[in-house]
Symmetry: C2
DNA sequence: TCCTTTAGTGACTTTAGGACACTATAGTGG
DNA sequence: CCACTATAGTGTCCTAAAGTCACTAAAGGA
């Protein structure tokens, strides 16, 4: 049998089906607090429970897994996440009562201001503080997925500037430091952070300043390459 | 409709099927050279091409994705990989001519001596040097998956002792350093490496030595916790 | 005995974060 | 106008850990 014949006769439904979904852990800083976007399920299973935004891959719309993830983000927030990272894939016969299921989890950080209005208009989506979300009984294994995402974001905050994607540009060094501190869960030495900020060469001084209380702070923008920037040395934990 | 009714009437095959596979990038050090295990496909598509060991999730045998990966490793090498890490999941409508397909890639390091005989007996499996494998026209997107695995192993060699899983225990410090050097692709300062080796407290001196040419070298075993050990600072690149 | 080879150590340099006090620049209230 | 407070930003010393490289240690072989 040649390949053409094989493909013509190939019937995938001769084999047991695996359900394929994506789930996204979307973080945002709301009043210096780390928040995660959840969606209320209005279908079985776990009907009425809160869950991570996500769903089945749609072969008519999604050329790739990552597309499925960003489509889900867009549907719930109205924006495209400029930082979207694949976290892990969970697959087992037990995680979904409908059958053997595989879910690829993604995580992203988005600036709250950019999507605040849209999220308010989507009536089954809402932001929860991470502490609160972890105490809730979420659908499927979504609590474990959030923990994985937190761990990943914590690590990234120690050796990269990925947390910058949770800020609206331009931003001050303190804005960025506070974002890191929120993800790490402890304060960072200001001087150390500023040194890393400057030595990284990943930021552009806009020349403008912002002033609230006290001395005005310089406003910066991040360069595009910041997404892949890495320090060789981690901050203290 | 309640949940029970929903589940009874749920027909997954009402939706287009997604093919779910796992692929494993299995590395081993053969004469200080990094090698990767490949398997010759004897079915369409890519019949006759070399590919990564892997295949469809088998719902009758595999309780989880990771189980599917280790089962594939066991089938081709006869051993259980004590270090098996999930790499990434690739999913698109184009990577497999049979349809929309998702593959979760795993990577592992195994000691060559432990599986040499078994692999020789499996006539469609063979070790290739990484350079050679990357020059070959492999099935699906397996060349890209190997590159991902190499990148991951390279990073791990800079901040962990994961490469130890490619060695037969006990081993000398030089054995381990050479493993790291192979993954990083450049020499490491002996003194720096020894300092890290000792400060990590992840090794047990067996009291025995091994001697080839020159002064005998102390033999060590790795502690179980080594899998999750991390340095805060990377080696130079 | 000396040469070669590989293992292991000593000691100085370099890098970069930690700590913390100091100065700078804004608003505010007497 | 002058403290006082708040936040931004700097100067300086300390410390941890890697880089460098020469030295010593212990084996076999000519």
């Amino acid at each position: 049998m040649n390949e053409k014949q094989y493909l013509n006769e190939y019937q995938p439904k001769d084999y047991p089906v695996v359900l394929v979904t994506v789930d996204t852990v979307l973080f945002s800083f709301i009043k210096d607090e780390l928040s995660v976007l959840l969606v209320k399920r209005n279908n079985h299973p776990y009907k009425g429970h809160w869950a991570l935004p996500g769903g089945f891959v749609d072969q008519t719309q999604d050329p790739s897994l990552e597309h499925a993830a960003s489509r889900n983000i867009r549907e719930k927030t109205g924006i495209d996440a400029s930082y979207l990272e694949q976290l892990a894939t969970l697959g087992s016969g037990k995680r979904d009562p409908r059958g053997w299921s595989v879910s690829t989890a993604y995580t992203a950080l988005i600036p709250h201001a950019k999507c605040e209005h849209f999220v308010d208009s989507v009536d089954d989506a809402a932001w929860f503080s991470v502490d609160e979300a972890l105490r809730m009984k979420l659908a499927f294994d979504h609590t474990a997925i959030i923990r994985l995402a937190l761990e990943r974001q914590h690590q990234k905050a120690l050796y990269s500037f990925v947390p910058v994607f949770g800020l609206t540009q331009p931003f001050t060094i303190t804005d960025l430091r506070k974002a890191h501190e929120t993800l790490i869960g402890k304060p960072i030495q200001r001087k150390s952070f500023i040194r890393r900020f400057e030595s990284s060469d990943m930021f552009i001084d806009t020349g403008k300043v912002r002033q609230e209380r006290g001395r005005p702070a310089a406003l910066y923008k991040a360069k595009a390459a910041i997404k892949s920037f890495r320090f060789v040395r981690n901050l203290d934990e």
